[in-house]
């Protein structure tokens, strides 16, 4: 399904309240601005995101995200913890993609301590990272539909998640916070039946996704609500450090998996999806396409999975030498970076975490200005953020 086939209409993307007042009454209508406090508890914010919106009628004059409502101080907490404890802690940062969060710190440790990771562990890591990405993307597929008022696709996406979720559960014992990664590999080998279950789930997603896509993306109302709404220009996306599917929806073809391959991503055949227009529709389209790409990677990784151990030779005490390293990986929502400084202790001296949602949300005031209240919800939904990822 080509992107152009789906696009048809064009409409005025930005509304000017004074212009509207002029059309309505020849400029005689005196309107007053009103401050609308969206959140912290609001159905469309997936948690406790707060947006201070100044509205004139239904048009947003100004919108300011106020973050910090859920700050848990991860960067400070990790300074008092052993590295293996940190793995389990940072799994909770972005709760939709726990396995992806566990990766960068372990990569950093492996680089500093020069630990060799066995090939089987690398392949399993990639497969499960991508499965986690599918889980995350399907969740946003569901919530975006729900935000636009289409509740049925939500449940379809949840049904597809379940098989993959089950496979993850078989291997790790957890459904959200896996705690499965270790410096040097993964905790233990996957159980029997894991590969069959995982492939079953992934193939089902590929089979059924096109149906769901037609139900939602092919819908005329959906197009009316998303095309040319909330346009994020390429330049602005660059300047604000936006990454992930949102940046790729604005025509930026950057993907850490492709441009700076880590693990064994360079062995697999997949494409970086991007769309040129930067509106809600394109962001959502990229998200849906990425599910298919991830599914392809999982099939390849599990298809020629090498045998062998899953945990390399790791010293009993994890104590990286003095030094610093910055590792970045492609989280489902964008670029996740860990800057680890070690003073030779068992605990990190400092660990700076760069999370994708934080940067992605910072561009919201630029995008939201001049939009309708209803479009604000569509835009918030299409920015695919996780609250825990914004406020670490």
């Amino acid at each position: 399904m080509a992107l152009d086939e789906k696009r048809v209409t064009s409409q005025t993307p930005v509304h000017d309240p004074e212009e509207i007042a002029k059309i309505v009454s020849g400029g005689n209508l005196i309107t007053e601005q009103m401050v609308l406090n969206v959140g912290p508890q609001h159905p469309a914010t997936h948690g406790v995101f707060r947006l201070l919106a100044t509205i004139d009628g239904e048009v947003l004059v100004n919108a300011e995200p106020i973050i910090g409502y859920m700050h848990r101080g991860y960067e400070k907490l990790v300074e008092a913890r052993d590295y293996r404890q940190i793995t389990n802690l940072i799994s909770r940062m972005d709760w939709l993609s726990g396995f992806n969060n566990e990766l960068p710190m372990n990569l950093a440790l492996e680089e500093m301590m020069e630990i060799e990771v066995p090939e089987r562990a690398q392949y399993l890591r990639v497969a499960m990272l991508e499965m986690n990405r599918i889980l995350n993307h399907l969740m946003f597929f569901a919530s975006f539909g729900a935000e636009l008022g289409a509740i049925t696709p939500t449940f379809f996406a949840f049904r597809e998640r379940e098989d993959i979720q089950l496979a993850m559960e078989m291997a790790t014992g957890g459904r959200m916070h896996f705690g499965y990664m270790r410096p040097g590999g993964i905790r233990e080998d996957v159980p029997r039946g894991f590969i069959r279950q995982a492939l079953k789930g992934v193939r089902q997603v590929i089979d059924r996704l096109s149906q769901y896509e037609d139900l939602l993306v092919g819908n005329e109302i959906f197009k009316q609500r998303t095309i040319d709404v909330g346009v994020l220009e390429k330049e602005i996306a660059y300047n604000y450090g936006v990454s992930g599917p949102i940046a790729r929806g604005s025509g930026i073809t950057f993907d850490v998996r492709k441009d700076e391959p880590y693990l064994v991503y360079d062995k697999f055949d997949f494409e970086v999806q991007s769309a040129p227009n930067g509106d809600c529709f394109d962001r959502f389209w990229v998200l849906v396409r990425e599910v298919v790409e991830s599914a392809k990677i999982v099939e390849q990784a599990l298809g020629d999975l090498p045998s062998g151990p899953v945990l390399g030779k790791v010293p009993r005490v994890i104590q990286p030498p003095e030094g610093e390293v910055y590792i970045r990986t492609e989280n489902p929502l964008g670029e996740l970076g860990f800057y680890l400084i070690s003073d030779g202790d068992r605990r990190p001296y400092r660990m700076k975490i760069r999370t994708p949602s934080y940067n992605n949300v910072s561009v919201l005031p630029r995008v939201l200005k001049g939009q309708m209240v209803a479009d604000m919800i569509a835009i918030l939904g299409s920015f695919f953020f996780v609250l825990g990822d914004i406020d670490r």
Partner: protein, 337 residues
């Protein structure tokens, strides 16, 4: 021998009100249960399964009981009198709609000569209640929702009125019984094309008037929490919102059945079908209408308010005017004219 009972006007009125108060809530419970189940099965779910034992039939009773126990909160800055009156202003007109819908040839509470006019007039009184609820809640979300609702009502009342006017032209009467009697073939099939277009126009207008998705902007959950009803709790919430909404939906399904599907008559004039009593025909058709409304409701995303207004003023209303012309032409020059 059945003793002959004569009742005076007041006793008749009380009896009729009693029937309305007994029948409408029962139908609402059935339709509400159907709503749960249709939604669940469209979404590959089972829906409620436990309350009452068999497929969760008692879910709405349990729900109602729960709401009965909830605290009735009136916000401190709300306009108390208006706030507490609003649910009644929304709910009572919905009940009054059922007065004139003919369930069978003689099974009708009151066959008014101006039945259709009465329906359209009473049907829009509820909007005042919605405005009252939104304004008196002292809540910005409620206010936005109420204003959206009022704008929507003005825009969508017209297509409904115009399509109903075309039906009145075809039947040559405003009495609902006369309208049903005029349908040898239901209007949706005959006049061909025109009738179907009028029916679709009516469905669209009804969905907008009922605030069902894709026209549910006044109560859009992801934007405005519950719109005008954001501040309501307990029984007021149930009566002003859930109960009124479902009862309103049944009423519109009944009106659609009467105007377009031939009411209590068989769907096609064919001997064997006429054996089935009219009351069954009426309920089967109404159930079909309800299913149609629910089906559309759970399949579509929501429009934006300005898109909805554009759709109404630039497309639906010109279309309905054209259809009135077409109906007039059919009456004058068609096979019967």
């Amino acid at each position: 021998m059945i003793p002959e009972i004569t009742l005076n006007a007041w006793q008749m009125l009380l009896l009729k009100l009693g029937i309305i108060l007994a029948v409408v809530p029962t139908m609402t419970l059935v339709a509400g249960y159907a709503e749960h189940k249709v939604m669940a099965h469209l979404q590959h779910r089972l829906g409620p399964m436990y309350p009452g034992g068999f497929h969760g039939w008692a879910i709405l009773l349990a729900d109602g009981l729960k709401f009965l126990y909830k605290e009735d909160i009136i916000p401190a800055s709300a306009d108390r009198r208006v706030f507490s009156m609003a649910p009644a202003v929304i709910f009572v007109p919905v009940l009054l709609l059922f007065l004139v819908i003919p369930i069978d040839r003689t099974l009708i509470i009151e066959d008014l000569d101006v039945g259709l006019f009465y329906l359209l007039a009473i049907g829009s009184v509820g909007a005042i209640g919605v405005l009252m609820a939104g304004w008196s809640s002292a809540n910005k979300y409620a206010l936005i929702g109420a204003l959206r609702s009022a704008g929507q009502l003005i825009a969508y009342e017209l297509p409904i009125v115009l399509s109903a006017a075309a039906v009145a032209m075809l039947a040559g009467s405003l009495s609902l019984v006369a309208i049903v009697e005029a349908q040898d073939w239901p209007f949706i099939l005959w006049p061909p094309g025109i009738g179907l277009a009028l029916f679709m126009l009516f469905i669209l207008g009804a969905m907008a008037e009922l605030s069902l998705p894709p026209f549910d902007m006044p109560v859009a959950e992801s934007e405005l929490i519950t719109g005008p009803f954001t501040e309501y709790t307990g029984m007021r919430f149930i009566f002003g919102f859930f109960f009124a909404e479902t009862a309103h939906m049944i009423a519109f399904a009944g009106i659609g059945t009467t105007l377009f599907l031939g009411g209590y008559k068989p769907i096609v004039p064919w001997g064997p079908l006429e054996v089935i009593p009219g009351i069954i025909w009426f309920f089967v058709k109404t159930a079909f209408m309800i299913f149609l409304l629910l089906w559309i409701r759970f399949s579509f995303p929501r429009l934006r308010e300005d898109q909805l207004q554009k759709f109404a003023w630039k497309f639906l209303i010109p279309l309905s005017l054209a259809l009135i012309l077409a109906t007039g032409a059919w009456i004058l020059y068609g096979p019967g004219g």
